[in-house]
Symmetry: C2
Subunit: 226 residues, 2 copies
Amino acid sequence: MAFFVEGAKNVTELLLSDFTITHLLLTDKFLSEQQTLLARFEGEKIVTTPKALKSMGTFSSNEQALAVARIKPNAPLEIRPGELILALDDIRDPGNLGTIIRIADWYGIKKILLSPETADVYNPKVLHASMGSFSRMSFEYVDLKSKLSDVAVPVYGAFLEGVSIHDFEGGTDGVLLMGNESHGIRDDLKALVSQKLTIPAFGAAESLNVAIATAVICDNFRRLNK
Amino acid sequence: MAFFVEGAKNVTELLLSDFTITHLLLTDKFLSEQQTLLARFEGEKIVTTPKALKSMGTFSSNEQALAVARIKPNAPLEIRPGELILALDDIRDPGNLGTIIRIADWYGIKKILLSPETADVYNPKVLHASMGSFSRMSFEYVDLKSKLSDVAVPVYGAFLEGVSIHDFEGGTDGVLLMGNESHGIRDDLKALVSQKLTIPAFGAAESLNVAIATAVICDNFRRLNK
C-alpha cells in the first residue's frame, strides 16, 4: 500500500524519515536545492515541470516535489511510563487531525493512538496540515476501549467539569484522550479516564476546537516538566 | 451592506447579538425549538424546507436556519489599559481567522484589530469557524502600523527568539500581535513590539499554526490573572 505527499516541506521531511520512498517526482528547483538530501536517496527520481506536478497532486501550490512512499503496517504501540501519548477518539476532520499531529510533534509526543473512525493519517489533507510532522510520529489504529482498559499510566480527558489545567500539577506522563469535534469523548471511554481536566474559560465561547484544546493541554503539561 | 450566517448555532448567536437581522429563513424545526428567542425578533421570517436552505447557503449541513444581517460599519476601537486586545497582521486563511475569533471569545477578548490584507470577517468560512463568537466581538480593519505606533499599553508578538511564555509574568493587558501564516509579523511592525514572546518547543516541529499559537499565548496570559 502506498501514499503520496506533496510540496517541498513535506517531501523533505519524508526524505529525512524512515519511510520507504518508491518514487520521487521533482522539479529542477527541488533537485538543485536539495542536492545533499537527494544524494542519499536510492529510489526512482523523475524530473518534471511545476505544471505537471500541480496536475498530479491535490494542492494547487505544489511546484517542487511529490513523493510516493509505502504505508507503514499498523503495529501495536507500547504505552510506557514516563512518556506522554495522545489517543484520538473519532476525530473526523482531516485538517484537525493533521494539526493535532503537528502539535504533538511540537510538544515532543511520539505516539498517537487513533480510534478506527478517526480520519486516515495518509489522507493528503492530513499530511498537508501536519507540515511534515507525520513523518516523526508513530500511529496505531486500535479499539481504544480495549487498548486503554488496563494501562499502568494515568488517562487524561478534557471535560467541562474536570480539574482546571491551570491548577493541575501532573501530566508529565500518561495518555491524553481527546474526543470527537461535536460529541466529545464517547460514553464507553469516559470510564477509562482517571483524571478529568478542564480548560478554564474567561469569555463566552461555549467550546474550543479539538486541536486548540489539545495544544493548550499539552502546553500546560509541558510547562510542568521543564 | 449585508452578510448571511448559516446553521442553528450561528443564527441563534446572531439573534442574541446586537446585529440587525433583516431576513430570517428557517425551518419548522428551528421555529419550534427557538420560540422564545424568535418572539423578540421583529424582522421578516420566511419558513422554508431543509432542502431549500441547503441550496441557498454554502454549507451542506445547514438544515435549520439562515439569517441575513447588516454589516457593522468599520469603526475605530479604543485601546484601553486593563484589557487584552488581538491584532492580526495578514491572516489570510478564513478558517484560521474564524478559529482565532472563537479562541479570543473563549479567553475573554472583546476587540480584534485586523490589517487590511487579513481575511474578511463576514466570509462564510470565517463565520462558520467562529462558531457564533464573531457576534460578541468588535472588529476594526486598520493600518496596524499607525494604529499601534503610539499606544500606552505593551505590544506583544510571537517570535522564535523571545522570552518563554512559561517564564513570562505579564500579559494581563495590552495588544497581542499575531503575524501571517507563512511569514510571521512584517518587518515594519516588528519595531512596534515591546515584548517578544516564544512558545517553548519540546519536539521537532518547526512551528505551530497561527491559531494554535494564539490560543497557547492567551492561555498563558490568562493563567496569570485568575
